[in-house]
Structures are given as C-alpha cells and as structure tokens.
C-alpha cells in the first residue's frame, strides 16, 4: 500500500547543482525545508537512481548524527511519478551564516557563538566517524531562537580509507593538503572551520577583498589559499588572531590537532568589547553602546595611502562628542593600521 504525505510547497529559499530548496509546511512539523532533487537534471535513469541513493544516504547520515547543533531530518519523499526526490529537514528561519557575512555587519560575540556551536556539531560528526568536507558559512544554518545547526550533508561521508576521504566542497575553504593531495581528514575539516571563522570575523567584503593585506592568493593551479601576510580587521584582537592562525596552519602537523581541540580553542576566545562592525567598500564603522554613551570608530579609505581613522564617544543623540584617538597623517598606511589595532587591543577587558 502506498501512503500520501501532505506537504504544502512555499517559497524557494535556495538552490544548487542538485536542485532547489523550498520552504514547505508539514501538517505536524509546521515550517520545514524541503531539498528537491529533479530527475530532469540527470541524463539517464541510472544517474537519477544513483542520485536518489546518494540523497537517501545524506538523509540517513543526518539521522545517524542527530544532535542539537546538526540540522534535523524529518523524512524523505519520492514524488508519485518518480520525478522528484525530497529530503525534508527542519527549517532555519535566519537562513545561513553566509547571510550574516554578506551583510558585512556583525559583532565578534555573535560570530564566536556561531563558530563555537558549529564546532560542537562538527566535533560530534567526527566523534561518530564521519567527515563533513564542505564547511563554510553557507552550510551553517541559524534558527530564530539563536540555535546554530550544521547543515548540507551532501558531502558528508563515513567512507574513510585510513581516515581519509576524497575532497568535496569549496576550494576557498580547503586545507592545503586537500588542494595538493586531494584527500580529506578530520584536520582538513578543522582547517575549513578555521577559514569559516576567519570569514565570520571579516564579513565577505573584507574576506574576499583584493589589494593590500588581502586574505587570499592563488597557487600555481589557480586554487585560492590564505596568504601568510593577510590582515585581519583591526578590532580582531591578538588572542582571536592566534586562535584562527592555529586552526588554519598550512602545516597540518602544527595545526590544532582535532575538532575537540578546536571547540576548546574557540570556547576559550576571550571576552571582547561588543563593537558592531560595518564593513563598507570605502569605510569601516564600529559602534558600541556603553555606560550611557555611544562609542564610535570610523576608518575611511581603509588600507589606502590616504586612509585615516578617528575614534570618539558621543551622547545617544549625537551631541557632546569627545575624541578618543585618531590616526596620524604623517604615518604610513601600515602604521595607521597598527595604531587602530592597538586602539582596540588596549580596550580589551583583562578579566576572564
């Protein structure tokens, strides 16, 4: 006997090479996300059959990895005509961490929360003998209640040969050994998490920026890699920079040794002032409310020869301005960048 599942299809919320994701309403679960795979996208019935099996394996991996930081799978469905295969999962109202990075407006505290929760989910995945292989902000999903879920298990595998699996995912987040040896391990997932954290504390504009101190360079094969002379946003303090550096060390023997250790490193990131950072194409603004006043920093023409920054506090209506510090016009751009870094560093709370 065949049974009929009632799923009310709503707006399209995402897509990719596999098909599309729609917001749907399930009579029991309420809002759900349904990942649709279409037979029409596959050239032969055999290829479609294989795709359905892979999609089913993805859903089974999700079920095997049920955890508060991993997106929950509800069911799989095959359209009666056999033309569509659906994986129905919980719906994450705030979409993905990519939506946050592409907005280029964030606080370090928010991003630490996202990275730590994702790391806990990934640590659980590793603990169960799986690799994710495609860690990036797009695959970290956010619930309206603040919960963070690792999603998109299309590349998750437990098919490890001596702890290795073949690479999938997005080259910008690949570890050097994945680019070179085409093999994924727990350590390459750690690297991808580190690059993701770097993306989270940079926003997309700074992360993918070209020019002085740019984060990525290209290797001989055209693959992007994190440059050793890259610059962080100035408010990312030393302890945070060191943690990210440990996660993305090119030499895997010197990299943070496991996802469990990565969780520890991210958890230990010290408390910093809650600056809201807005990265624009020509200027970066930081704002913070503290002690009845608003603190602001503006960095214009950043990292250019004519850049300048100024920090001040003001009343909430913008009056009673007091200048806290400013850049010197006689300095070179490196020194002005460093002076802004120091401004934020000195304000970092010393207590735990």
């Amino acid at each position: 006997m065949n049974y009929l599942a009632v799923l009310q299809k709503g707006a399209r919320i995402g897509g990719g090479v596999f098909g599309e994701v729609f917001l749907c309403v399930d009579p029991v679960q309420g809002q759900v996300a349904a990942k649709h795979f279409y037979a029409a996208n596959f050239s032969t019935p055999a290829a479609w059959q294989e795709a359905c099996e892979k999609a089913l394996a993805e859903a089974q991996a999700l079920k095997a990895l049920e955890h508060c930081n991993i997106v929950r799978v509800h069911q799989v469905l095959l359209a009666i005509a056999g033309s569509e295969f659906l994986i129905v999962t919980e719906y994450c109202e705030e979409r993905s961490a990519r939506d946050k990075t592409s907005a280029n407006s964030f606080t370090l505290k928010q991003m630490k929360h996202v990275a730590r929760e994702a790391a806990i989910g990934l640590n659980y995945i590793h603990g169960q003998g799986y690799l994710h292989r495609d860690i990036k902000p797009d695959n970290i999903l956010l619930k309206a209640n603040g919960e963070v879920k690792v999603g998109d298990f299309g590349f998750v595998t437990d098919q490890l040969q001596f702890g290795f699996a073949t690479p999938y995912g997005t080259p910008a987040y690949w570890a050097p050994e994945v680019r070179q040896e085409k093999a994924c391990t727990e350590l390459s997932d750690v690297y991808s998490l580190g690059t993701t954290l770097l993306n989270l504390v940079s926003g997309d504009l700074w992360f993918f920026r070209q020019g002085r101190g740019q984060i990525f360079k290209e290797d001989a094969d055209g693959y992007p890699f994190v440059a050793s002379d890259m610059l962080f946003l100035p408010h990312v303090t030393t302890a945070w920079r060191n943690t990210i550096a440990r996660l993305i060390r090119a030499d895997k023997t010197k990299r943070c040794a496991s996802m469990a250790e990565a969780v520890n490193l991210i958890s230990r990131l010290p408390v910093v002032e809650d600056w809201a950072c807005d990265v624009g194409p020509d200027e970066i603004n930081w704002t913070m409310e503290k002690g009845g006043r608003r603190f602001r920093v503006r960095w214009e023409n950043y990292l250019r020869d004519n850049d300048s920054w100024v920090a001040w506090s003001e009343a909430h209506n913008g009056s009673a301005k007091r200048t806290l510090a400013r850049s010197s016009s006689v300095d070179k751009w490196q020194k002005r960048y460093r002076s802004l870094q120091l401004f934020f560093e000195k304000r970092t709370p010393k207590h735990r």
Binding site: H67, R116, Y124, G127, A260, R352
Partner: protein, 151 residues
C-alpha cells in the same frame, strides 16, 4: 572496560580516558581538557553540558569523578565555582554510564604513600601507564582510574 576520570576545576575539566589491564596497569586512550568559556557562566555551563554529553556518548562504561570535599576554611569563589561545574558535569553524564565519586583522602587510604607523592613520581607513572601521552597535570585524573584497578 573503558573508564573516564574527571577532575573538575573552576574553569576547566580534565578528562582522562583509559582502559584497565589485567596486569594492574592502565592504557591511556585520551587525555584532554575541556575549558569553560569565559564570561557569562550560565551560558558557559550549558555549552559545557553539551560538550560533556557528546564526549561521553560512545564507548564509555564508567566515569570516575574526583569528589568535592569540605575544608576547614570558608570556601573561596573558585572552590564554589568548581563545585558548580562538578554539578554540571554530573548532570551531563549520559544516564547509562555508571558514575563513581572518589574523594582524594579515600584514594590515599590503604596506600603506602599519599596521592600527591605518587603524582610527582615519574617512574611510578612510567610503569603503571602506557598508551597515549599523559600530561603531568592530568596525573590526578589518571590516578583515579588506576585506583579502581587496585580496588
């Protein structure tokens, strides 16, 4: 049988996982520290509870916890915080795992030397423990596993 021994401080939990061998030695499987997140302790405890649950979910038969012990002086904040975190730890251990709590003085009982003297003895630890690398700071936790072998 796989045991995890835990020593809880105010801002971190040291976990040593080991297997007791028939010859009275312990094979260390993993030695790690779970650091408590700085800042808001309420949130940090919730995060720590998740991490403990995840860590102990598979392949652990027994948890041996260094128990609280009352001192003769009023407890300082760090001692109280450690006791709080111990409560978080206990509540997060999955239900199917047996938990035993051992006070330091009970571990010393019936031994020729005090626990602290054993902890300084490199030769003793070299002879009694093999397997994964054991940090000096984790010896107290490791000793709790050895104590169960000897019991």
């Amino acid at each position: 049988m796989t045991s995890v021994a835990a020593v809880v401080a105010s801002d971190a939990i040291i976990l040593v996982e080991g297997e007791c061998n028939a010859d009275g030695t312990v094979t260390v499987i993993k030695d790690e520290t779970l650091d408590l997140e700085p800042g808001d302790r309420r949130k940090a405890y919730a995060i720590m509870a998740t991490r403990i649950r995840d860590r102990l979910k598979n392949g652990v038969d027994t948890v041996i916890l260094k128990a609280s012990s009352g001192g003769q002086f009023a407890a300082k904040t760090v001692v109280l915080h450690a006791a709080e975190l111990r409560g978080v730890f206990l509540s997060a251990v999955p239900g199917e795992i047996e938990v035993v709590q051992r006070q330091k003085k009970s571990v010393s009982k019936g031994r020729s030397r005090k626990v602290d003297e054993y902890l300084k003895d490199d030769v003793f630890f070299g002879a009694k423990f093999d397997g994964a690398k054991l940090r000096k700071g984790s010896r107290e936790a490791a000793f709790l596993i050895l104590n169960e072998v000897d019991d």
